[in-house]
Symmetry: none
Subunit: 199 residues, 4 copies
């Protein structure tokens, strides 16, 4: 008498969806301000729902974390994809970095909290790492083909450095500070044309 698994299950109730949305938004905000050890009670309250509702949607703290995280990551990946068409490969790379910093800046702290709280061996970590690395890899390959980038730089190098730079910066001025830092780093890796680098 079980419903066939493949059967497109009835669309979820409107309030279910609305609450899920609220919870994710609230969680992002709360994690951003209180860090990864924020209380779930607090998240529920911020979302304006009961604690039981939170648990129904995300049966473990990890589950909520993961859902929030996944959202953020997807934005960053989408960003990279949008830039693959860019003519100048180095410029594309730099743009992606800048755009990313801007993105991260808008949700100051959120990413930091997540990056630190997430278990390095969890599925979500692997997912995000792979997604982002893949996104950068394509931009990077084009820059190397054009002979404009040190050959020994890997996508991981870029990703980790960028994230690292974001992690140590906080507060107002974040975007400018990190952008300058990142440019400093990129300058050292690239050469030619429109690069802002130089001494």
């Amino acid at each position: 008498m079980e419903r066939k698994t493949e059967q497109p299950r009835r669309r979820p109730r409107a309030d279910y969806l609305r609450n899920r949305e609220r919870l994710l938004t609230a969680a992002a905000e709360v994690f951003r301000t209180h860090g990864g050890q924020a209380t779930l009670e607090g998240v529920a309250k911020a979302a304006g729902v009961g604690i039981g509702t939170l648990y129904r949607h995300f049966p473990t703290r990890e589950a909520l974390f993961e859902a929030v995280y996944r959202r953020e990551i997807n934005e960053m990946v989408a960003l990279a994809e949008r830039l693959e068409g860019e003519a100048d490969p180095v410029a594309a790379l730099r743009q992606w970095v800048h755009a990313n910093i801007r993105l991260i800046a808008t949700k100051q702290g959120m990413l930091t909290a997540l990056a630190l709280a997430v278990d390095k061996s969890s599925e979500i970590y692997t997912y995000s790492y792979t997604s982002l690395t893949g996104a950068i890899a394509r931009l990077l390959a084009r820059a190397k083909e054009a002979g404009r980038m040190r050959e020994d730089v890997t996508p991981e190098d870029l990703l980790l450095t960028l994230i690292g730079m974001c992690l140590v910066r906080t507060g107002p001025g974040f975007e400018d500070d990190v952008t300058r830092l990142a440019d400093l780093f990129l300058d050292g890796l690239t050469k030619g044309q429109g690069d802002s680098g130089g001494m």
Copy 2:
């Protein structure tokens, strides 16, 4: 209610000092392995003393944290001072970075835990930031004077990038990974002589 006057307070009992020492060592180890949310009971047990004793030495969790942190920072500063005599200023800088990575590697996780747990506006944060920045500033100044370093690089840039790079890396291979990353960064900032950089 002030204690008499300026009278140098009686030298503490030997076991008092020994306990303090044990506590700091144990705390560093426990925080390293269990992260910043390790329990104080656990620290006390690791140190082989009662929880009451821990509290006598460090009346609050924060106080213990700060004491441990301060120790680590001091090591890093001492490292920089030792390198001020080095002939080649760029080499000195690179050496400091390498040595620091090595130092951090030996206490893997410790720094991360601390960086996370410490309140950005706390006294200890200011202290450590100032100490380290000062230490680097002197090394950096010499490199600039020798014309071997981009003029627009600040000590903060160096410090924060280094720390950021350490934060995103964990586990085995830490030291090599971060060293490569840091070298990549330094290459981009410097020019001339013994630099490992190039394309």
Copy 3:
């Protein structure tokens, strides 16, 4: 606000009845395996209906409990009625005891769970106690009339002893163990003819 008059309320929808049936069956099974603290959500799921439906049928946890209990009791009473025609009164008694043990054995745990969960002063307790006592009383009376049974034995004695023996036994071998125990008890109360008793 009373519903019209004495008008026989419309016969319930077929699915309503089917759901009620399913719920009772599922509940008996779930209580049997999980004990009296099983969750209602679990019962609903086992019955293949929503929790809301369960509540429509049994507006409180107690109500469900009672309905399940009542069913079990009725089976035991029916058993006794079927044996009233039996020629040998002592044999009839013994048969009822054996049959009861068999019945209880088939739903191992169920009775225990119920016995535990039911409030001794509740209506259902009175009901079941009265029903069963009455059932035994008739069998017992005939045995006494035939001079085959100690005069000072009451129906309650029999009932409670039987239940007690069932409560302390669990797991495989239940039926044989309890049957032997019960026979031991009956032997002591009866005399004459086909009695299995003796020394």
Copy 4:
């Protein structure tokens, strides 16, 4: 640096012992009145200590349960041992049964709660079962040797029947009711002399 395990550890603090005592007493009382699902919070309050203290003494619900249970069992075993000297073996047996009922009566409900709450496969169950069975076995053996007891009766039969009879009875009149029931049972098993049995 670990303290040698065999070393007679310093006598526990007075308040530690006092609290442990209070907790056990309170727990027995609370379990008796509220059954095995009573809240630990309630037990702590009844004992007049904080919930944390309860947890320090009994880190799990099971642990508390076990400690309470073990106490009760030990009393029953001690009872049996005291009766081994009795001249008439059947009388000794009957006395033990009576005494036990009296004992159980004084803590009405306690045993029931325990018997039902305890996991049949737990260590404490085995312990109590073995202890009690052993105690009865010795009394029973003497009665059989004297030819005053059915040979096919085991200590388990006696124990389980007794417990079963206690489980189904509650409230005032408990002691008299159960005693009558138990005598009825014993009468059937024994013969000769001072036995109260007969028809």
